[in-house]
């Protein structure tokens, strides 16, 4: 019979809620709390030999010690798999489940599995490196979670081949595997369309990334006194592309001084973008980054001033994660320099 060690928090161990979240890690023989549901799902294929219980605050506030102590506890039982949670939408519990599962996998080299709600912060932190089953956002989803987690845990423990995220129910982990579909693309597309038209459920084969939403900023009070910055994803850079910004899948952005530059010309600037016909932007880069008219506005007093630098990257298959990281960095600089508004141009 396969041996399982299970990790749960103080709440699921029935020790208490927030007021008991400080309890340090302990190990108990056999099953505690939600382990019972796993036991039923495992039948006689696997057995939970021990359960680690740890307070969520304790784990997160004493992460290094907790990790070390728990690994020692788990090691003694020499399990075939380590299961943490599921944590649903409990943030600290999710982070604890992900952290300890990752540590057990790295240090003890045994398979691990956890489960949580997709918006749990632990999901983004660990879904690319360990298997995390997607669950509902509250413990009401326990039965469903166990139904997906238990068979996947058995497969992992037996070192069987793991199917795709859609088949097994874990969160997509960024790994791509080539395979042959039974039906050809046109047939699948038409089927999807018919389902959509009939209001029936269908699953896209090309999901869009999740984009966040931010509340709109208040309007600029006095635009004639405002400092305005230009930012572009259209790849405008000084001639020669000094920072070697990639023509697609950009891994960086550039910051360029336009102090005294009244007009972008063919001789001085160009586009580095490889995703649109560059002829027009190279001929007159103001068509993408309108420095000439912004200078005019500045002179006429329609704006306070044009910010001394512009920022540019190439938005061509660029990872959302990269783009977000660029913006986080330069938004800080713009703010620190007292920029009041940004005009971002895209091609």
């Amino acid at each position: 019979m396969l041996k399982v060690v299970h990790y749960i928090n103080q709440f699921f161990a029935n020790i208490g809620g927030e007021e008991m979240a400080h309890v340090p890690a302990e190990i108990r023989e056999g099953i505690v709390g939600p382990g019972l549901a796993f036991k039923q799902a495992f039948g006689d294929e696997a057995e939970i030999v021990a359960t680690v219980v740890c307070g969520d605050s304790y784990f997160n506030e004493n992460m290094e010690k907790a990790k070390k102590d728990i690994i020692e506890m788990v090691k003694k039982y020499n399990p075939d798999i380590f299961i943490a949670g599921p944590a649903f939408n409990a943030g600290r519990y999710g982070v604890a489940c992900g952290t300890i599962a990752q540590a057990v996998k790295d240090e003890l080299k045994i398979p691990v599995l956890t489960g949580m709600y997709e918006e749990n912060p632990g999901a983004d932190m660990f879904k690319n490196s360990i298997y995390i089953v997607s669950t509902k956002n509250s413990a009401a989803g326990m039965r469903k979670a166990v139904k997906t987690m238990a068979p996947l845990a058995l497969k992992l423990a037996k070192e069987e081949k793991i199917g795709s995220s859609a088949e097994e129910g874990y969160m997509p982990n960024g790994k791509r595997v080539n395979f042959y579909e039974k039906d050809r693309g046109s047939k699948r597309a038409v089927k999807m369309l018919l389902n959509k038209l009939n209001g029936k459920p269908f699953t896209t084969e090309f999901p869009m990334p999740d984009f966040d939403r931010v509340p709109p900023n208040p309007p600029v009070k006095d635009i004639t006194k405002a400092t305005i910055a230009l930012v572009t994803s259209g790849g405008i850079v000084p001639k020669g592309n000094p920072d070697h910004i990639e023509s697609s899948s950009a891994s960086k952005y550039g910051k360029y001084d336009i102090d005294g530059v009244m007009d972008l010309t063919e001789e001085t600037f160009q586009t580095a973008h490889g995703g649109y016909d560059p002829v027009y932007a190279n001929e007159d880069p103001d068509r993408v980054l309108p420095v000439d008219i912004m200078r005019e506005f500045e002179k006429e007093g329609k704006i306070g001033k044009l910010y001394r630098y512009f920022y540019a990257t190439v938005g061509n298959g660029t990872a959302v994660k990269n783009a977000k990281a660029f913006a986080e960095k330069y938004a800080k600089e713009l703010k620190a320099d007292g920029v009041d508004a940004v005009i971002l141009t895209s091609t």
Binding site: F211, R213, P215, I223, Y280, R287, T347
Partner: protein
């Protein structure tokens, strides 16, 4: 605020103030026109951008004029 030609993309990624532009390879210009006419277009679009920046919005808004 965001100036772009493919407004649905801008709406998808979450821009709050959007000014639609001319074309993908030349959002703020039009090579079929004379230099002066092109600058007029650019002036018009950027004036609209300044207007957008001075307008209170509570949700994603496309400034068509």
């Amino acid at each position: 605020m965001h100036m772009c030609t493919i407004v649905p993309i801008s709406l998808t990624v979450g821009a709050n103030r959007i000014v639609p532009t001319i074309a993908i390879p030349h959002p703020l210009g039009d090579p079929s026109l004379s230099m002066e006419e092109e600058k007029d277009i650019r002036r018009k679009l950027l004036s609209r951008a300044l207007k957008a920046l001075q307008t209170e919005v509570s949700e994603q808004t496309v400034f068509e004029d």
